[in-house]
C-alpha cells in the first residue's frame, strides 16, 4: 500500500475551484434558504389555514425524502415537464428548498417560544403586524434557535457533495475528476474529505460570529 498525495495536490487548481463552488452554493443556499424559512415559519405560525397546510406539506415532504432524490427530481425529472435547468441552477434550487424546509421548522420553534406578553406589549405600542414580527418576534426567536440553524446550514453544506452527481463542479466533483485521471481514488477522497472538515469547522466559526452581528444583535 503506497500513498501518493502529491499526485492529487498537483491538481490544486481544480480543488480550489471545487471549494469555491461549494462555498458559493452554500452561501446562496444559506441566504435564500433562511429567507424561505422565515417566510414559511411566519406563514405556518400566523397565516391562513390553507397556507399553513401547504407549508406544512412542503416541510414534511422535504424532510422525509433524501436530498439526492430531490436533486435528481429537479435535474432529471423536471425537464420532462418542460423545465430545463443547468446543473448549477438545479443544485441551488435543491439546496434552497432543502434548507428552507428545515429552517422553517427550526425558526417556528423559536417563534412559538416567544412569550405572548411581548406581542401584546408591542401591539399596545401601536406597532403593526409586520413590525411586531420583524422587530419583536423574529430577532429573539433567531437568537434562541441559532445553534440549531448553524448545524443545519453545515449539514446542507456537507450535503452539497451530492451535487457533483449531476456534474455541478463543486469539491466532490473535483475529487472525482482528479481520481479518474490519476487513479489515486483514496488519496483524492481523503484530501477532499479533510477540506470538507476544515470548511465545516470554519463555517461554524463564521456563523457563530455572523449570527449575533447581522441577524439578531447582541
Amino acid at each position: 500500500m503506497e500513498f501518493d498525495f502529491g499526485a492529487v495536490l498537483v491538481d490544486w487548481r481544480l480543488l480550489a475551484k471545487g471549494v469555491a463552488w461549494t462555498v458559493g452554493l452554500t452561501a446562496i443556499a444559506t441566504l435564500i434558504g433562511m429567507a424561505v424559512g422565515v417566510a414559511c415559519a411566519w406563514a405556518r405560525a400566523s397565516g391562513p389555514a390553507w397556507l399553513r397546510w401547504i407549508v406544512g406539506s412542503y416541510v414534511e415532504l422535504i424532510r422525509n425524502t433524501p436530498f439526492i432524490v430531490q436533486l435528481f427530481f429537479i435535474f432529471f425529472g423536471l425537464p420532462a415537464a418542460g423545465v430545463k435547468l443547468t446543473p448549477e441552477t438545479a443544485s441551488v434550487i435543491a439546496m434552497v428548498m432543502n434548507l428552507g424546509a428545515y429552517a422553517t421548522e427550526i425558526i417556528r420553534a423559536g417563534i412559538e417560544a416567544t412569550p405572548k406578553g411581548q406581542i401584546e406589549a408591542a401591539v399596545s405600542l401601536a406597532l403593526n403586524k409586520v413590525q411586531v414580527f420583524t422587530r419583536v418576534v423574529l430577532p429573539p426567536a433567531l437568537k434562541k434557535v441559532w445553534p440549531a440553524m448553524v448545524s443545519q446550514i453545515i449539514i446542507v453544506m456537507l450535503g452539497s457533495a451530492v451535487c457533483g452527481q449531476i456534474s455541478t463542479e463543486e469539491l466532490s466533483y473535483a475529487a472525482n475528476l482528479i481520481q479518474s485521471r490519476n487513479f489515486r481514488a483514496f488519496e483524492a477522497f481523503i484530501i477532499a474529505t479533510l477540506i470538507y472538515l476544515a470548511l465545516a469547522v470554519g463555517l461554524r466559526r463564521l456563523l457563530n460570529w455572523a449570527g449575533p452581528k447581522f441577524f439578531f444583535g447582541r
Binding site: M1, E60, L61, R63, N64, T65, P66, F67, I68, V69, Q70, F72, F73, F76, G77, L78, P79, A80, A81, I154, L158, G159, S160, A161, V162, Q165, S172, A175, A185, F186, F189, I190, A192, T193, Y196, L197, A200, V201
Partner: protein
C-alpha cells in the same frame, strides 16, 4: 420499443425498496451496537478515550456521508480485500450511524442530574450498578424519541449508497428512468416511496417526544 406502465415502474421500485429497508436496518443495528460501545468508552475510558470518541464524532459529523462512502469503498480495497457495494455501504453507514447515535445518547446520559449519580454512588453502587439501575432506565426513556427520529436520517442516508453502485431505491430509480425515459414519473414515485417509508417514523418520533415532554411537565 417496450412500453412501461406505471405499475411496471412501481413494482420494480418496490422490489428495490427492500434493499433500502435492509441496508437501513443493518446501519441502524450495527450503528447502535458500535455507538453503545463508544458511549461506554466515553463514560468509562478516561479523558483520552473521551477525547478520542469526541474526535470520531466530529469526524463523521463534519464530513459528507458521500465522501465516507467513497473512502470506505476505495479504502477497504487498499487492504487487498475485494469490496462489494454491500460491504462498503454497510461499513460506512454503520460508522456514520454510530457517531450520531453515540452523541445523541451521550446527551441523554448527561441530562440525568448529577445528584442521581452522587446518590447512587453514596449507596455504594459500582459504576455498572449505577448505570444499570439508576442512570440507564431514565436515560433510555429520554433517548427513545431522538433515536427513532434519527432512523429517518439513516433511511435517507442509504440513498447515497446508490452512488457507489448499491442497487437500492434511488439507484433503481435512476436505472428505470434510463430505461423508460420517464424521469418525472419515476423520480416522483421514488420520492413518494421514501416519504411513505419515512413519514410514519417521523410522526412516531414526534408523538414519542410529545409524550415524554408531557410526562416531565
Amino acid at each position: 420499443m417496450v412500453d412501461f406502465s406505471l405499475w411496471d415502474i412501481l413494482r420494480n421500485l418496490l422490489m428495490a425498496l427492500r434493499w433500502t429497508v435492509v441496508l437501513s436496518l443493518i446501519a441502524f443495528v450495527g450503528g447502535g451496537l458500535v455507538g453503545g460501545l463508544l458511549l461506554f468508552l466515553r463514560l468509562r475510558g478516561g479523558s483520552v478515550m473521551n477525547r478520542a470518541v469526541g474526535f470520531y464524532v466530529q469526524l463523521f459529523q463534519g464530513t459528507p456521508l458521500l465522501m465516507q462512502l467513497f473512502l470506505a469503498y476505495f479504502g477497504i480495497a487498499l487492504f487487498g480485500i475485494d469490496v462489494s457495494a454491500w460491504t462498503a455501504a454497510s461499513v460506512a453507514l454503520t460508522l456514520y450511524t454510530s457517531a450520531f447515535l453515540t452523541e445523541i445518547w451521550r446527551g441523554c446520559v448527561a441530562s440525568i442530574p448529577k445528584g442521581q449519580w452522587e446518590a447512587s454512588g453514596s449507596l455504594a453502587l459500582s459504576f455498572s450498578e449505577q448505570m444499570r439501575h439508576v442512570v440507564l432506565p431514565q436515560a433510555v426513556k429520554i433517548a427513545i424519541a431522538p433515536t427513532v427520529g434519527f432512523l429517518v436520517q439513516v433511511i435517507k442516508g442509504t440513498a447515497l449508497a446508490s452512488v457507489i453502485g448499491f442497487v437500492e431505491l434511488t439507484k433503481a430509480g435512476s436505472m428505470i428512468s434510463n430505461a423508460t425515459f420517464q424521469p418525472f414519473v419515476v423520480f416522483s414515485c421514488v420520492a413518494l416511496l421514501y416519504f411513505v417509508l419515512c413519514f410514519p417514523v417521523s410522526l412516531y418520533a414526534k408523538n414519542l417526544e410529545r409524550k415524554s415532554h408531557g410526562r416531565r411537565a
